[in-house]
């Protein structure tokens, strides 16, 4: 066996670990002590003590909670900081405040029903979750998606990605003091939501995809709406650039904080803009093209710095690529159906259901409990797509029933948030905010 490679940041084998400090909450500890077996290797939680005897302001450390209710955490994330003055000596995180049991729900809902749940994961870009899940199910069932539906999916996913990226950048700007950036970003996001509303009927929780396509066609003026929005976005990205890049205050705050080397980024499982800002050109859209991404001419930009500034610039550059993809896709939007013709998979038209018996049977077979879409028993797939935050994977195991035996979501955010303590140790508290902002951790998909 070859020599094992050590994960960076992990304690060496046999190295003495500092004894975990006790938590001040007696009640919590009583519960923990009750069941030591399930507590694993760590007998005590590692959240830091706020004990008066040890905690003073005369040169020692104090414990500070950043979140779960804090404006800079943009969601329910709890970061516990051990600080000496303004400097972070150690950090620990706690998540799960938004844990909703999506994966458990998947075992009790039919494949089509669970599309609505995917909206609630990364709620900043629900469309990408819809598409990712639909593609996983299509792989599971072996369904062909009509070309028109694929192109619509690409266009809307890329708009969703744009909205996600600019809001992330806008909030990052706000966190380091450029408040107007946030307002501008949110204003543009509303424009994207207008488009989403026109197409899907909802602004935020789109639930647009169905297994085998999308649930309805785009409106007649879709073409002009898309083209206007692309023009507007190009102008807006220029504004965002001129506001931030080269701005002395902005650069001082963002450069050199939260640096991730490319080796660490791969080892820690980071994906998406964060991985690419560390110099690895891995993009699922290029590595394993889906929905016809191989037809479009686009680059996978990368940065060298690996710091917060690089991640900010990376998102801006990816926005440009998304606009390029949209411009190409809208030119080549074919005519045709938007949902698979296979009536075992897609629901028939409602008019048809009322008029002929065959459609009524298809409708019944899909809706009634115990029927539905039935993948082959024992089949399992892992399918991944490029969501704005990175690789969004779905691992589905089927037992031949109408609901999946297991659905696992591989959310990018959970791997991004796991490295936060390592990134912010040794920085100032305000730098921690700048790092957290560019990681773009979305609590919905983090906790699921």
């Amino acid at each position: 066996m070859s020599e094992k490679r050590k994960a960076p940041g992990m304690p060496a084998e046999g190295a003495e670990q500092s004894p975990p400090e006790t938590l001040g909450l007696e009640l919590l500890r009583k519960g923990l002590a009750a069941d030591p077996e399930y507590r694993g290797e760590h007998p005590e939680p590692r959240f830091f003590i706020t004990d008066e005897a040890e905690d003073d302001f005369g040169g020692k450390t104090m414990t500070l909670n950043l979140g779960p209710q804090h404006p800079a955490t943009h969601g329910t994330l709890r970061v516990v900081l051990k600080v000496r003055g303004e400097k972070i000596v150690a950090a620990d995180t706690e998540i799960g405040f938004l844990h909703t049991g999506f994966e458990k729900l998947s075992e009790h809902m039919s494949y089509q029903q669970w599309v609505t749940v995917t909206d609630r994961m990364n709620y900043m870009s629900a469309m990408n979750n819809n598409v990712g899940y639909a593609i996983a199910c299509e792989e599971l069932l072996g369904v062909e998606v009509p070309r028109r539906a694929q192109v619509i999916r690409v266009i809307l996913s890329e708009f969703s990605r744009l909205a996600d990226h600019i809001v992330c950048n806008g909030l990052a700007g706000m966190d380091v003091g450029a408040f107007s950036l946030m307002f501008w970003a949110f204003e543009r996001r509303e424009k994207v939501y207008d488009l989403m509303e026109a197409v899907t009927g909802t602004r935020l929780t789109t639930s647009y995809t169905r297994i085998g396509g999308v649930f309805r066609d785009v409106p007649a003026d879709f073409d002009s709406m898309v083209k206007n929005l692309v023009t507007e976005f190009r102008r807006f990205l220029e504004e965002m650039r001129s506001m931030t890049l080269g701005n002395r205050i902005f650069e001082d705050r963002m450069r050199g904080v939260g640096i991730i080397s490319s080796a660490d980024a791969v080892n820690w499982g980071l994906t998406g803009p964060i991985l690419r800002a560390s110099g690895i050109a891995y993009d699922v859209r290029k590595a394993r093209p889906y929905s016809g991404y191989e037809r479009y001419d686009f680059e996978v930009p990368t940065q060298e710095g690996g710091d917060s500034y690089s991640r900010f610039v990376q998102r801006l550059e990816e926005c440009e690529q998304s606009l390029d993809i949209i411009s190409q896709a809208i030119e080549d939007l074919p005519e045709g159906p938007v949902l698979s013709e296979d009536k075992k998979i897609s629901l028939p038209e409602k008019d048809e259901v009322h008029q002929n018996i065959e459609s009524l049977i298809h409708h019944f077979k899909q809706i009634m409990f115990g029927h539905g879409i039935l993948p082959e028993r024992g089949r399992e797939v892992y399918s991944s797509t490029e969501s704005p935050n990175g690789e969004l994977g779905f691992y589905i195991v089927s037992d031949g029933e109408m609901n999946s035996y297991k659905t696992r979501v591989r959310p990018p955010s959970i791997f991004h948030f796991a490295v936060l303590p390592k990134l912010i140790e040794g920085l100032m508290i305000s730098d921690a905010v700048a790092v957290l902002a560019t990681l773009n951790v979305i609590a919905g998909e983090l906790d699921r």
Binding site: M10, P11, G31, G96, K104, N267, G269, R288, E380, Y382
Partner: protein
């Protein structure tokens, strides 16, 4: 990027190295990717072989999860759980799925944290949801559920609606664990 290998080629390389310790499972259906199954005794060796062997070089652990086969009536599946590893190589652009069976009464697998840092939280979540311990993982605290939660929600015998607060957190009741006595006001689920 090098040439990606198919899962079949990768299992072939693995079989050459490990011989009988490895079995291959092909899920049904067209274009199904092969899934290799290794015993947990040889899991560590297999993972480190996959990471370091020239031509394979899986430098990216995409995900760790588990499946609870409690209600899955299939004679070929002997153990209740299986830990599932999704691997990817940024060098060769290929990916691979590895499974290891985990018995119910002694639910543990060796940790992959020393090979990939991304295993740290992925294993933590799997432990949290299924109660499978990853030996060698330095942080086996609960991830999503509260620290003092007694159950494992993604196990098949855990009800969808949970067991209610009074069963899940008896230590917070005035009357102690529930035994017909009145719980705290508004308790229960």
């Amino acid at each position: 990027m090098g040439t990606p290998l198919t899962p079949e080629q990768i299992t072939e390389r693995l079989s050459k190295q490990f011989g009988d310790e490895l079995s291959v499972h092909l899920p049904p259906g067209k274009s199904a990717a092969q899934v290799a199954i290794v015993s947990r005794e040889s899991l560590e060796d297999t993972l480190s072989f996959l990471q370091s062997e020239a031509g394979l070089e899986f430098d990216f652990l995409v995900d760790v999860t588990a499946v609870d086969y409690l209600h899955f009536d299939e004679p070929s599946i002997q153990e209740r759980f299986a830990a599932v590893y999704q691997l990817y190589s940024t060098i060769h652009n290929h990916r691979f799925t590895l499974k290891t069976p985990v018995p119910e009464d002694d639910a543990w697998v060796p940790s992959a944290v020393e090979l990939w840092g991304s295993a740290l939280w992925a294993e933590r979540e799997t432990h949290d949801m299924y109660g499978i311990r990853f030996k060698g993982n330095p942080d086996m605290r609960r991830l999503l559920m509260p620290e003092d939660f007694p159950g494992f929600p993604l196990r098949k015998d855990y009800p969808l609606r949970g067991r209610g607060e009074r069963d899940a957190f008896p230590q917070y009741l005035d009357s102690g664990p529930i035994s017909g006595g009145a719980g705290k006001e508004g308790g229960g689920g």
